[in-house]
Amino acid sequence: MVNPIYLIVLILASAFLLALLHRINSFFAYLLFYLVNVISLTVSGIWSAGLLSGNNTIQIFTAGFYPPYSINLQIGIAESVILFLTNLILFLGAIYLWEKFKKEGVQSFILYLTLSLGFLGMILSRDLFNLFVFLEIASISTAILIGLNLDQRSISAGFKYLIAGGLISAFMLIGIIYIYKDTGTLSLDLLNAVGSTGFSQAGLIALFLLFAAVLIELKPFPANGWALDVYQTASPGLAAIISTASSGAVLFILYKLLPLASPGIIQFIIISGIVTFVSSNLIGLKQTDARRLLGYSSIAQLGLLSAAMGLMGKFGIDLLSWQGILIIGGLFINHFLGKAGLFWISGLVDKDKIGDWSVLFKYPPLSFLFGCFIFALSSLPPFPGFWAKWELILTIFRNGESILAFLILAGSFMETAYLFRWLIKAVKGYNSSSDPSLKIKLSKLFPIFIMFVLIIYFSLIITNLKSGFNFNLLLPLIGGAIFFALSWLPARLKTILLLFFLALATYYIYPRLTGISRYFGLMFSAGSMIFVFANGNSLKSRSGIFENLTILISSLLLLLTVKTTLSFFYAWELMTISSFLLLLKGNKSARSALTFLLFSIASAYLLLSAFGLAYAETNSILWESLAMLETFKIPVFILLAAGFLIKSGVAGFHIWMPGAYAEADDETTPLFSAILSKSGIFGLWITLGIIGEVAFKGLSFSMIIGWLGILTAFWGSLLAVFQEDIKYLLAYSSMGQIGYIILALAVNSHTGWVAAIYLSINHLLFKGALFLAAAGLISRLQTRKMYQMGGLIKKMPLSFITVLISIIALSGVPPLSGFGSKWLLYNALLEKGWYLQTGLAFFASTIAFLYCFRLIHTVFLGQGKPAHKQVKEASSWFIIPQIILLLAIMILSMFPHLFLQPLSNTVAHYLQPDLSWQGNTVFSSLGYWNGNLIMIVTMIIFMIPLIWLLLRIPAIKKVRQFNIVYAAERPDKPETTHFAYNFFAPYQKALGYLVKPVATKFWLGMSEAMTTLGAAFRHIYTGNGQTYALHIIFFIVIYYLITGAG
């Protein structure tokens, strides 16, 4: 293997040579520069390959002496990998910076080489003093490189960097001197042998100073003002290097020093890291400057990494162990690749304000890369951060530091919030006024693309490592990738393909399901297949829809099959992102998508904490292990229930729901409302099914969930009454129906569960049909406002029939299937003794009549508008699935026992059955119901008056819409004759106070408060170098006092 000394010499020599060569021929100089970069990269690559294939660690001592009299270098696996990555970034960075360097002249090449030398030393060096020297080399060359930009802000930033660097070196030097005085050596190996216990009191202080200096290099809160200015003003290519390579090198120093740390210092590292992580993310919330935002994110990530390192130290986990690599390596790779990519993209876009990033709209491939990096940074699957976060959180919980875990989750949540705000602004914020031209240089695109390839590569590696090549887990991603590759195909073909794929997936997964999961499987697979069909309506390729549909549906199916909480969480997050991306495809969905994502992530983090707590107690990630909980039974139950309830859109947390259902693409909305909403129900069912009844001091949690359910039903219905937008009406109606399902589940009895599943299936059928009908309407009328429609029964009779049957099923009027579900629900409630809930449920179900009638009346009845004279029936891509759904409703209604009897038998495996059957009549302990007979009786009675009226047909004259009695006048125009707007004005007068947007205001207030808090924190960054210096001093003093390190 190549001796690293040669590399150092090469770099130094070529730095000198460059200056000479440049005078002769600048081309050769540039060639030399890139050659050196390539050589370093290759050499470090060879080292890594060698070491990974089992070669021994190399130790090098110059001049045969031990430090401090010589340079001591070591190349182990960790060193070589980090060095390789650093060189890679440096190499790609050099390509990226090519134009800038060419403009600034040879000195920037030289400085860049010096910088790389500094990194090399920092990574390889094994003694304190040399570490210090290389650190200085790196930081001085960085400062000058920043300053070379020659604009006022960059120079000032570079100068602040120098001030901070000076202070840091002062502390570091003091620390090193005293350590040497105390121990007589500077070699890390020898020091490690001494250990922190071998230090005197003064030596411990020195150690503290040393660690503090290293930490400050990692930009902890609040001593990071200088770094932020650097991130914001330095050229993005450089900022990427500072954020990734130099931070990586410093982190590596921390890693090397970690064995020296005393418990107090470890505490110090942890607290400093967590505080930095949380507060940076908090401040980041308010940021609108793209690079500063990236800066906060970088700082936060470094905080998280250092905290994670500290925690590993505290828990005694070897960083080179499998777990340590997964956590630290995962987080590091994630940050390293993602952040570099984002910084480089920010250089390409070259817009300060995130609002101006909408120019990305014109460059789908770049948007795609951008989105990938954002997802990676938000630690969503399958990116490395996801697995690292899971492992980290579980490890923290396992070691009893729950509060830290919650803090980290809170910080991640905020980071996700601002990153996605940025993403949405970039993807959806497009308006014609923004200038869409970008100068895309291949030299700049290439490094970004490499980052993307690497991050995907590492994702796959880690996913496979962690999940053990589980084909099921990769199924959604493979499906998504296939459709991504096929995205050029027309939508109709892809629809057929997707149906085929779904059929295969169902065929594969369905036999693996048992019990109630089968019913959910039926809903998820068969239901999806019906709804996917509507996507064929479009003649365009509808790129971005099918990929996500595939991922969404297969991850839903995956949810049903998984045995472990990890796989569940993985599928859950996949479902979240894919549904978020689908939602983002809607026309005006930006705001709703963000709300949806935030609530989904919050819900996911609640689940994650629940899984963590459960793991802490049972030391198992199997779902079944949750049943064995003792200590943490209540908190785990609460966290799980809260997570799933938020995802179901329970009252108070419902504000994401209407927007998500209403603003999504019209063709995908049925899927959202009818199927995706059941994922929360499924989770809730698992929770109730596995953990069972939980009570705290006699207060049953099922009871609380039941009340939440019924309140959701009530508010959902009431809110739906006052909507003017057809999709919002349906969305709120879904909220109401989900409320019933939650209520029925919470009853936790046989009838209750049967009712819940029956309600779910019913809801899927009628709400899917309604949303499909709405999609058909919107596609024909180009409006969503119901009062702009009217009289469409004559134009779109099939859609009318769909809506008619669906609302009868929805409102629970016999003889259709809705009544069966209502009957089961009330019986369950009454048997359980939830009497007041029954009353309220009844009230809510009568309120449903209001919006049902309004839906059908204002759209299909009343006066048709002249503007819609030419409107035709919706396309058959919408109508066919509707007919299928209607047939299903009719069959369920005619022969309820065909479905209910097996369902009831299945549920009987879980709970004591209370329903019995006699022929077609179902008996509960309270009442009985024969759906079949009711249907027949109703039909017969219906025929008699119908025949009488049919006999009168010769006397009947068919008239047109204006042939109405109108106080002896003739109506003026249909628009003013159609009574539709604010249809329930008296109801609004009487009960409108109940639907004031309290929840919305509360959440808006919360987010306002958070951003304000962040902004308040932000005020400590005055932009003044002296203040920043003061922060550094404060940081050291305060942390010393708090942790009492030493």
Binding site: P866, K869, A955, K957, K958, V959, R960, Q961, F962, N963, V965, A968, E969, R970, P974
Partner: protein, 205 residues
Amino acid sequence: MENNNKPVNLGLSAADRELFCEALPVVRKPLQNFIEKFLNWARANSLWILGFGTGCGAIELRPLMTSRYDMYRYGIAPRPTPRQSSVFIIGGYASVKTLKRIVRSYEQMQNPKFVIALGSCTINGGMYWDSYNTINRIDAYIPVDIYIAGCMPRPEAIIAGFGKLKELILAGKGEGANKYADNFEWYKANQRKIIKDWNMPDYNW
């Protein structure tokens, strides 16, 4: 069949024409047997009135409903919409503007329908006989079954008028609707003569 491809509803704009039914009324022959007698009996004893309070006659209808004259005991009841009524009461003088509404309302009633016109004004214009805006005789525009003279007729007179109407109906002579359909062209011509801004369909279904 009613409309032999003759252009209709020409008073309406092309856009409005699509909003109105274009058919014209047809004669609905009564059955010539005992069933019709029975039905006529029912019709005579269930007179639902559409009060058209054009003039002072409307005042006289109020006491008719209240306890003193109690028209309900004769099976007479007010109805709020022409669709459901069978007797159209024109309560006094009718201006040209009102006539338009009278025609609309009359045409919106269902066959068989009867008209009672109250007061001198409806008979020959009464005290407004030479006004530029008050029509002189209602029966030139819609078929009238009963005229009740007076300025205004008292409620007793109106009840007597209803009695006469009953007799007419029982005798099978209350065929105003058919008469209107039969002489539709004539009635329309008369109406059109004075209703200048004809912005309604030819027959208001």
